[in-house]
């Protein structure tokens, strides 16, 4: 199957996904389950990585801006920009594509190979709507909070790193954070997050839903899903940056 066929099949899948749920009560239950699985269970990894990468960004910036002509406040300023613009929305989304993407593909793929999806269809249930829509809503609703948390912890990590290393003071760092603060950057980061969240939910779902073969097939599909989600996030990141910032 070539790329065009996959793209067409992906959009045909979306057409089935975006239907009115057959039972609101069942949909609400599925949504809260997905928020827990895809969102709350990702809190730990996002918090951990954001804190340490924020620290590394601040340290690297401090080590590279060693000219006496450049004020120390630039460290906080540069760290803030890097974290808000790229690290939190893009880097965290790529990590989530790995963690959540493989989970989505393997869970849906296993349902496919064990005929659980056939069972849903025989019952008269729109399996795509039942399985994928709650995942999309959960990621699109929850990931902005996750990414904002990543921003906050990344910036906090930078502050702590400066404090522990003695490369810059907390006062300089905070002054840098406050300098030329543009709220549009947060808006830009959140728009990107929404697009990435949609990709993280739908691309792995596509690979899982149309999986072929048994357990090996599910494994291969999980790998492909992570690769393709990452590729699409990177491309979308470029396009959105071009559209929103230039």
């Amino acid at each position: 199957m070539n790329y065009f066929e996959h793209t067409g099949k992906y959009f045909m899948m979306l057409k089935q996904v975006f239907r009115k749920p057959q039972r609101a009560r069942v949909f609400r239950e599925a949504l809260s389950r997905e928020i827990e699985e895809l969102g709350l269970k990702s809190l730990g990894i996002v918090m951990f990585i954001s804190f340490f990468i924020g620290g590394v960004i601040a340290l690297q910036t401090a080590l590279n801006l060693d000219s006496p002509l450049i004020p120390k406040t630039m460290i906080g300023f540069a760290a803030k920009r890097s974290i808000i613009l790229e690290f939190a929305p893009t880097f965290c989304s790529i990590i989530l594509a790995g963690k959540v993407g493989s989970y989505i593909t393997s869970s849906i793929g296993t349902m496919r190979v064990t005929e659980q999806i056939d069972a849903l269809e025989v019952m008269g249930i729109n399996s795509l709507n039942y399985l994928v829509l709650p995942k999309i809503i959960a990621t699109v609703l929850f990931y902005p909070f996750l990414i904002i948390l990543g921003m906050v912890l990344g910036i906090f990590g930078g502050w702590i790193a400066g404090d522990l290393s003695g490369l810059f003071t907390g006062v300089d760092y905070i002054e840098g954070l406050q300098a030329e603060f543009d709220p549009y950057l947060i808006q830009y980061a959140l728009i990107k997050t929404l697009v990435f969240a949609f990709l993280i939910a739908t691309v792995p779902s596509y690979h899982g839903y149309y999986v072929k073969g048994g357990s090996i097939g599910v494994g291969k599909a999980s790998t492909q899903a992570v690769v393709w989600t990452t590729v699409l996030i990177v491309i979308a990141n470029y396009l959105l940056t071009q559209m929103l910032l230039t």
């Binding site: 064990t114 005929e115 269809e121 025989v122 008269g124």
Partner: protein
């Protein structure tokens, strides 16, 4: 009653079903038998709508599949119960959640009403004290019984079973066969079972359709299968010495 007329289905230029016509009567256990690759599963999946036939019609008590609207098709599917070969139970859920699931999706019953109905069908399949067990905690035979309970919880008019006793020991297989036959008679369901278990053929085959190379090669009852001299079915059913002897004994007895 299900009436199938001239059904054709293929995949990638390979024709699997080649014009099958058959009737399946209500209140009877109808069996589809045939060698692996004869088209049994494709036929069954075409009947339940998982495969779209290229030609031919399937009529469910006068409702022809090709003339149904999406809503009518959805309604029809709610009248269908299916027991899959591997049970196809939701393994992340408990027995009770699996059985209740169709009720949650298609009825407006309260939780207590759903639980009452689930307990009734679980009792019917002799699984009274397993409500809170997870599917992975059950044996193969118990999983099949949960699958039957889920299939009948909506009071279906049509019950389809794909190899319901594959992978089960002979004793459990007989229990499952008898359970399906009892339920079929009790609820007057049109039951279609896909099998290549000869014990099932002898025990519960009220009507048997034998498929060979995607075509119907023979049709009859479990009694007629002993008397037939149709070469294809004789070669298939009596390939084992045990069944040859059973046949000889039956024929000697009825002489």
């Amino acid at each position: 009653m299900i009436e199938v007329k001239n059904l054709y289905k293929g995949f990638n230029d390979v024709e699997v079903l080649k014009g099958i016509s058959a009737d399946f009567e209500a209140g009877k256990t109808n069996l589809i038998i045939g060698q692996s690759g004869s088209g049994k599963t494709v036929f069954l999946k075409s009947l339940i709508g998982l495969h779209i036939p290229e030609k031919g019609t399937i009529s469910f008590d006068g409702r022809v599949n090709t003339q149904l609207t999406i809503e009518e098709r959805r309604q029809l599917r709610q009248e269908i119960g299916m027991v899959f070969q591997g049970s196809a139970l939701f393994d992340s859920q408990t027995v009770e959640d699996n059985v209740i699931f169709p009720l949650k999706m298609f009825t407006k019953q309260s939780k207590s009403e759903m639980l009452e109905r689930a307990n009734t069908v679980l009792k019917r399949v002799d699984l009274e004290n397993s409500n809170k067990k997870f599917i992975t905690e059950l044996s193969g035979g118990m999983q099949k019984r949960v699958a039957i309970a889920r299939a009948i919880v909506m009071n279906p008019k049509y019950l389809f079973c794909d190899e319901p006793n594959s992978g089960l020991d002979p004793q459990t297989a007989i229990i499952i066969d008898n359970l399906i036959q009892e339920i079929t008679e009790e609820y007057q369901i049109t039951t279609v079972i896909n099998t290549h278990d000869m014990n099932s053929v002898m025990e519960i085959g009220e009507k048997i359709i034998f498929l060979k190379d995607g075509k119907k090669a023979w049709e009859g009852s479990s009694k007629e299968i002993f008397k037939t001299d149709n070469e294809a079915i004789v070669n298939f059913v009596y390939s084992s010495n045990l069944f040859k002897k059973v046949r000889e004994a039956y024929l000697n007895e009825t002489k």
